[in-house]
């Protein structure tokens, strides 16, 4: 716990990676709206960069399509662009460049080029920003061949994942959840209440496995989640220690393409699975996860998979309405209880 207090926050971790890679690698270019110092970006991830690397930090006009498209051109020509969309909601304006350009060039040119770009997208609600500044639109990109969609939770080494994304040969959509920015990363193997294990290459997009019980004990329920859901999951798991509900949580760092192995293992360990995401659940990421778990763990499941997400409507601006529309610790707890019953 003492350790956790000295560990960097999510935003600090991301920022440090940007500083480090820009320092080490002249191919890295950072671009986006309002990213120059002293402002340093809407969520301050880019703070300090423009002062140190004025030539390679470009504040752009308001033109998300061109931010993405210029990144494609930079990447095609040997640079490693890291673009920021101020809000992930504006990904809709970059969809053509991402799907019809970044994801297409390498394959349609028969593997002769790479487009190693990163587009960072702050997603998620709980800040009262209303229907067009609170969405989790990663669903637009998951499943698109030849791009990766990556989303660190605050149990992930967010900065290390960003570095991996920057050095990925494929285009990477890098999903940051706004509520995580001020959170301290929790990378210790054990905390007072929760133990953490990282599965998969640490210099890539590992899956984080969390347990609120001793290694000798058997878990009761598996929760599969990603990104900002760690914000709800961690306190809930701590709280459930008292209730003696043993939760095995599994959070992949890479949403798509999805390495299902650790998820299936976690599902098999309990036979009771909740899949939760911030977005509304219909046709969401969790549909694929649920379908794969059902397909592979058919015999071992002891209850239907419970899928949880936001109410299928807009994310309202009013705080109480927003809270009611989004997944809460209460609705997550209910889902856990449902799958346990």
């Amino acid at each position: 716990m003492a350790h956790a207090l000295t560990s960097p926050t999510y935003v600090q971790s991301l920022r440090k990676t940007l500083h480090d890679v820009m320092d080490q690698d002249p191919a890295v270019v950072v671009l986006g709206e309002d990213i120059l110092d002293p402002y340093g970006g809407a969520f301050k991830v880019t703070r300090g960069l423009s002062t140190r690397f004025p030539d390679r930090v470009l504040t752009t006009p308001i033109c998300e399509g061109t931010i993405a498209g210029a990144s494609v051109g930079l990447a095609l020509r040997g640079m490693r662009p890291v673009a920021e969309l101020m809000f992930g909601d504006f990904a809709t304006l970059a969809t053509d460049q991402i799907i019809n350009h970044a994801a297409k060039f390498p394959a349609m040119y028969n593997g002769q080029v790479t487009v190693p770009l990163v587009i960072r997208m702050p997603m998620g609600g709980r800040r009262g920003y209303g229907p067009t500044h609170s969405q989790s639109l990663e669903r637009l990109f998951v499943g698109t061949p030849h791009i990766k969609v990556v989303a660190p939770s605050h149990f992930h080494d967010a900065g290390a994942m960003l570095r991996a994304a920057i050095y990925d040969a494929e285009p990477v959509i890098f999903v940051e959840n706004k509520v995580l920015y001020p959170q301290r990363l929790r990378l210790e193997a054990t905390d007072t209440l929760i133990s953490r294990e990282s599965v998969g290459a640490p210099d890539s997009y590992p899956t984080v496995v969390l347990r609120n019980y001793a290694p000798t004990e058997q878990p009761d329920v598996t929760v599969i989640a990603y990104g900002g859901m760690s914000y709800l999951l961690a306190p809930l798991m701590a709280r459930l220690v008292e209730e003696e509900i043993r939760v095995l949580a599994c959070m992949p760092g890479c949403l798509s393409p999805l390495d299902e192995t650790p998820l299936l293992e976690a599902a098999r360990a309990t036979g009771r699975v909740v899949v939760v995401e911030e977005n509304s659940a219909d046709f969401g990421w969790g549909a694929e996860v649920a379908a794969r778990i059902y397909g592979a763990c058919y015999a071992q499941l002891r209850a239907p998979v419970v899928r949880l997400g936001a109410a299928p409507t807009v994310i309202p601006a009013a705080k109480a309405l927003e809270d009611a529309a989004l997944v809460s610790d209460e609705s997550l707890l209910s889902a856990i209880m449902e799958v346990l019953s």
Binding site: P38, P61, I62, T66, G128, Y129, P131, A311, K319
Partner: protein
């Protein structure tokens, strides 16, 4: 922004007294003066209302009584007042974006509905769902995606043209928003199809933290020309000049069924949203000296001005009180309301 500060006018009561003694003054001139005075008073009440509502919203935000975000247009009130008063509010259609409280207030005069909306109350014009960036009342629509409302306005103008309603569509844009390609697609289509769209650029020289020089090459006010869209540029020192230019622009659009682009040079005296201001204090102070609100105030008599201000303060106070007392809509109530949209 014009720098020539005209000599302050005499205070209105004094002027009145002076003209009252001038028996030779022709009737028409006196009527015109009266009308101008009445207009000043009316515009002042609107500008002061916007100013006080927005200051109040910022206060409420600091006090934690309002969450999320709020973008105010302190210093830009004359744009809203000058343009919206030039419209036919019975039929014309308005699109605006994140900084639209002023447009909303002049259009609807619904102080309570606005404050409650920004505070997330059920009594807000959108029941708290839309919030500050997503307002709707009658023929007015705002949305928080910069540039996204431009094609919507083009489509709305086409609808009105096809219906033969005689209405025009107005779309308010910021200088930063001129970075979006959608604006140029919209200028082209509006001009090509001869649609009654009035583009109003509120050029406050900044997009969030970014000065115009880092947003644009060339002069944004000239851009409409190449799409064969006529244009005018007005310095927003005096609401009267904005109003007069807007009247001409509206007439152009309505009578010819052609787009027009009205560029308003203005300045935002407050922060972009909630205190995140990186501009130089000197620059801000220099513009504060040219704030159109006190300039207009100076044309009113103290008594009249104070009466207006008192009424506005009271309206704002009551609106806040009512909003604080109002509840928040239930999610179930909201989703139930949306159900009829689905068959």
């Amino acid at each position: 922004m014009r720098t020539d500060a005209r000599p302050p006018r005499l205070d209105r009561t004094a002027t009145r007294a002076a003209t009252a003694t001038a028996a030779a003054e022709p009737m028409a001139e006196r009527d015109a003066q009266d009308a101008q005075d009445a207009q000043d008073a009316h515009f002042y009440s609107q500008m002061y209302l916007i100013r006080r509502v927005e200051q109040t919203l910022l206060d409420l935000f600091s006090q934690g009584k309002l969450t999320g975000t709020v973008h105010t247009a302190l210093g830009q009130e004359a744009c809203a007042v000058g343009v919206v008063n030039a419209l036919d509010r019975e039929r014309d259609v308005i699109f605006s974006s994140h900084r639209a409280h002023g447009h909303f207030l002049v259009y609807s005069d619904d102080v309570g509905g606005l404050i409650a909306e920004v505070m997330g109350r059920r009594t807000g014009v959108c029941g708290g769902v839309g919030g500050t960036q997503n307002l709707h009342v009658r023929n007015m629509y705002t949305g928080g995606i910069q540039g996204g409302i431009v094609p919507c306005a083009v489509g709305a103008a086409l609808a009105e043209k096809l219906k033969g309603s005689g209405a025009i569509a107005v779309v308010f844009l910021g200088d930063g928003t001129m970075g979006q390609g959608a604006v140029y697609e919209g200028l082209n289509v509006a001009s090509l199809w001869s649609l009654p769209v009035l583009f109003v650029l509120e050029d406050n020289q900044y997009a969030q933290s970014t000065p115009k020089a880092l947003e644009h090459a060339g002069d944004i006010a000239t851009r409409p020309e190449t799409f064969a869209v006529d244009r005018a540029v007005v310095d927003v020192d005096d609401v009267r000049s904005v109003y007069e230019a807007a009247q001409r622009a509206v007439r152009h659009v309505r009578e010819r069924s052609r787009p027009f682009f009205l560029a308003l040079n203005t300045y935002r005296l407050g922060p972009h949203s909630k205190g995140d201001d990186t501009r130089s204090p000197d620059e801000i102070e220099a513009y504060r000296a040219r704030d159109p609100l006190p300039r207009l105030a100076a044309r009113l008599g103290d008594e009249e001005r104070e009466a207006i201000e008192g009424r506005v303060e009271e309206r704002v106070r009551q609106a806040v009180e009512a909003a604080l007392a109002a509840g928040v809509q239930d999610l179930a109530e909201f989703t139930e309301r949306m159900r009829w949209h689905t068959r």
